[in-house]
Symmetry: D2
Subunit: 352 residues, 4 copies
């Protein structure tokens, strides 16, 4: 089989270097181009010394890069870039995976409210497929544009999905998602709040008044539950926290169980729901997953608890840069091109 | 005024060294003895180099230590030690502060269930005062035995107290406390799970099936709410997490508001409730307290949020070794002996 | 005694907040003004939540601040600011302590080479006293301008001083200083390299081709040894490293001993040299000081080793923000104004 | 080709789990048995959740394990175990790689002095090959017993080798190795000093009076330089430090250059020496390697500096669990069995 020609737009962030780490070892991937307006000419291995001797590309401008000759282009860019370049690439027959938010939120008002810009191509937005393979595998396989989910939404959706797919198990109006993210989730940005001396040995909530991933979470949870868009029948209160680790995301999800939910064997429900998923690991009863158990791996692990008869607590972990971003993007690529879903993604977590 | 003669039983743990750090600078404290069966003869400054040149004591056996000549003895021991030695010291006129759990739980069945031992002196347990000065200041002032609260219970109680004191503001049957603790909260114990290589760069829940602080939290929350012991009218689901920092504790508390609660100005409620408290800092609306803002200080900071009209979210931080343990113990001592409550406790947090 | 009126120019960095932490509890200090052009009007406690309720000042512009009415002004500014404002303040009778480099290097050529600017007032530079109290106490007491040493130079000088003061003990042409600094030493600057996700779980050397503190170290080591400026008779190879901790600095100093040095009892030499110093702690033979033993304290601890008969290895630790910066500045202030040298500096290290 | 049957003795430590991580993806490896006396029956994935779904083995006793049917057995055990079991396995035709120290030190007196036991089989010790492939590839290929070097010795030897192989370039009597290790280098042992609350936010030297890796380093450096065993012509002062990171090792090596050494282009010397090595990366002039650039990878990176004309400083990094232990062991296995040297070892470093 011919290798896939791959372009990466905006590879100077953490999702960029994670894409490179994974694609450099993907048997069917051929890195054709990586772009960065600021770093034109810089070898990627100069910026990311972990890639020395493994990735020979240098950054080019998007204008010069042979992106239109690629089979697939990943956007590891700030919000707003992918939607500006999408149509031209699609017209050239290139398929797209956007790791930013341009194609995630179907609600245009919310998109503008949270991202501070008008959407450049609502028609493409409607066409785009939300890239959570465990829930939308068939649509992804045919998609021209895949909106790679955010790290929090991946965690929360896969954690709640089994409970929401069967109607009437939980009080879906008051779902709770208490999440903690490693600092790399905020990106490779020179901001005071992300400095080692600020974020180390420290724990805090943030975005309590509202976080961009909140509407994405609720829009998708409603879909999962079969509730209409904007319905208050499904509403999740999402509280993100920053924890002093580089990678990793943890969610403590909770919901009040209805009598129907209380009667159900939740462990069996989850085990069955994810029985065939290569990247979802349902832990034995009584477990508490650790973020380090998935460090650098594309795996999401979860544990199901019923600490009192009328409450479900689901604990979920994944690596925000792998299953929460670039690993999932490669997983989507594999699905889109009919490759084995775990191709290039079988590395084990680095522990300790 | 004559200085207080102070004894510390079991000073080889983190609450011990924190007591020493604080008491070494307390203007009215005279360290008379510190005991440890394992470390007899070792100067405390050899074990804790931060104390070199500041604390000249060496560890002695409890048998040799002049504990009965002290005004007050702190137990910074494993559970079970204080209750075995309490009566003899009380008989000698010594007042006691126990930093372990011996005098915290009034429910003897729960004590035995969670701590795996019979209570040695139920009569003294009944006499003991729960040492949360913000809620029980007057009783503490007269107490012979003060049960210094655990770090989680301090955080959760002071976070929920204003909401629970006025009846009918929240659905108290389903309170939620998602807490994260620094690793020192688990003590200075040689356990694999507490190793740097295990706990660093990692986040996990623990004790989901049940944690010793759960019954303590609920017993005290019921008291605050005026509910009878064991009543299911007040029930808090408590989920502790371990976060890779040395000190610090964060709680994200949530509750559904009743119509009465929804109508109330929660920020004003909290500001008023804690207006005169020297160690509780109610942050301005929209804030998110950081654990580092109280590192080494006896301060608890909290912020009040209403992310949706029918939900309250209270964010609380404190240092688990200071306000969550030894600082609070010194605060209790000050109250017990009529000293200014902040004496020896006015050090500012170390930031960064 | 009347309290000292104190001004701080440029208090938005880590040396600024550390000055505030210490001065807020200094019995003879009255904070009169703190300036920042960027943060005019912001309460300092909004920027540094650890100061909430303890420091009521807001940042003002240097122009409006009553700096000329102060007894002493600290410059916690980027290099170049103090020398521009010094003369006006001195003329108003204000004494100055500069925590930046403006008055550290007596060699003007080296100053320009390393700091990229001409010196604005060479006459004041000549007048300035190098603020290492253990070595220059008497001159500091009378100084109008004190150049507060950098963190690395403090560590290296106090570590080598006993060996260099007696001529002929070591091969001073080839001194080695391998140092490791916590990340706060680089300041509160929004730079990629200082991000948590870059600096955490990582160790590296930096400035191997040359670091600003190199010439300062050598200029002062020559002074200590009684060698003329620029002499190659004393030359220290300085290699700084960045280690993933917030505060703390460690130096591993080594030198080949001459026969005279080999014959000497080095432990006794150091013990005697620092016998009366309140802030230098010579550890017992065989010790290895830990940075955490001085976290937040103004203490420097060192241990003397002779791992082979002809080599001395001196291990030194201090807190780069306290004894390595702001604590030393307060110590200098105490010396300048005839206060007890440890006033406001007697806080114990926070451990763990 | 038939896959290699592999046994691991003592797989409950960090070198054990790292072996499993690597071997689980090695195309020619078949894990036949893993032993642990303490954990008999425990699935390895229960102890190391990162292996869930990837490694199905459970721990067995060495007695029951089919070790004698293996092609190769790795000892990831405490010192002393391998030498007790070696002969029986060799007799069964099994080849051995010992990750502990049993076959590292040829000097029996030093072995007994540092490891506190008599050597059980001096004849096998003499037969054993020191497993640093870059220096002893041919002997390893034929070896029955490979002594896998310690993490410090690997770093120091590969850092100094080019300078020592050509005689007369440096003053080899006074080599210096200032090294810093991540905490996992101390193993998975329940010791107070390795706790998160002790080792985090802290930096210290240790073993200054002597460290087990000191004699190993000097014995091998003498070999490299062609000096006789025990000769004082080559002597390296080794000072290890503990730095708060999980994985990674950094060495700052220094040596005084002779006139011959001063005249040489050191960068060219190193580039040429390691030109064909797949796992040694000589960085461009002026570089400072970071430990994170090799996190989880089997690569050693180094940079060559001449900060003054008569001094060489070599900066070296590697991952103490990969190139410093288990990765190197797999590399040795590949060499022993004629497999491509990088088979199973081509994973890129995980950064950030």
């Amino acid at each position: 089989m011919k290798r896939l020609r791959i372009g990466i737009v905006g590879g100077t962030g953490y999702t960029g270097v994670e894409l490179l780490r994974l694609l450099a070892r993907h048997p069917q991937a051929e890195l054709a181009a990586i772009t960065s307006r600021k770093e034109v000419g810089t070898p990627v291995a100069d910026m990311f010394p972990s890639l020395r001797g493994q990735v020979d590309l240098a950054f080019t401008t998007p204008d010069d890069a042979p992106l239109h000759t690629c089979d697939i282009v990943f956007f590891a860019t700030p919000h707003g870039v992918a939607m500006a370049q999408a149509r031209r690439l699609l017209d050239a027959g290139v398929r797209l995976i956007d790791l930013a938010a341009d194609f995630r939120l179907q609600n245009l008002t919310e998109f503008t409210q949270w991202y501070g810009m008008e959407h450049a191509c609502p028609d493409l937005l409607q066409e785009a497929v939300y890239g959570l393979p465990e829930l939308h595998r068939e649509a992804i396989a045919k998609a021209r544009i895949v909106a790679n989910p955010g790290c929090y939404p991946t965690t929360v959706q896969l954690g709640f999905a089994p409970l929401l797919r069967t109607p009437g198990l939980v009080e879906a109006t008051h779902l709770m998602a208490n999440c903690a993210s490693g600092v790399s989730g905020a990106g490779r940005k020179a901001e005071i709040g992300l400095l080692f001396s600020e974020a180390s040995d420290n724990f805090k909530a943030y975005g309590v008044k509202g976080h961009r991933h909140g509407p994405e979470i609720n829009e998708q949870l409603r879909r999962i539950a079969g509730a209409p868009p904007g319905s208050s029948a499904v509403d999740c209160l999402f509280v993100p926290h920053l924890t002093p680790m580089i990678r990793g995301m943890h969610a403590t999800l909770s919901a009040r169980l209805t009598p129907a939910g209380q009667a159900l064997d939740l462990q069996a429900l989850y085990a069955s729901f994810y029985a065939k998923e290569p990247f979802v690991d349902v832990l034995p009863p009584g477990s508490a997953p650790e973020t380090r158990s998935v460090r650098g791996a594309n795996t999401l692990r979860l544990a199901v608890h019923k600490p009192r008869p009328d409450m479900a607590v689901i604990l979920v972990v994944q690596d925000n840069l792998t299953k929460g971003a670039s690993g999932q993007a490669v997983q989507n690529m594999n699905v889109m091109f009919g490759l084995p879903e775990n191709m290039g993604l079988d590395g084990l977590a680095v522990l300790p």
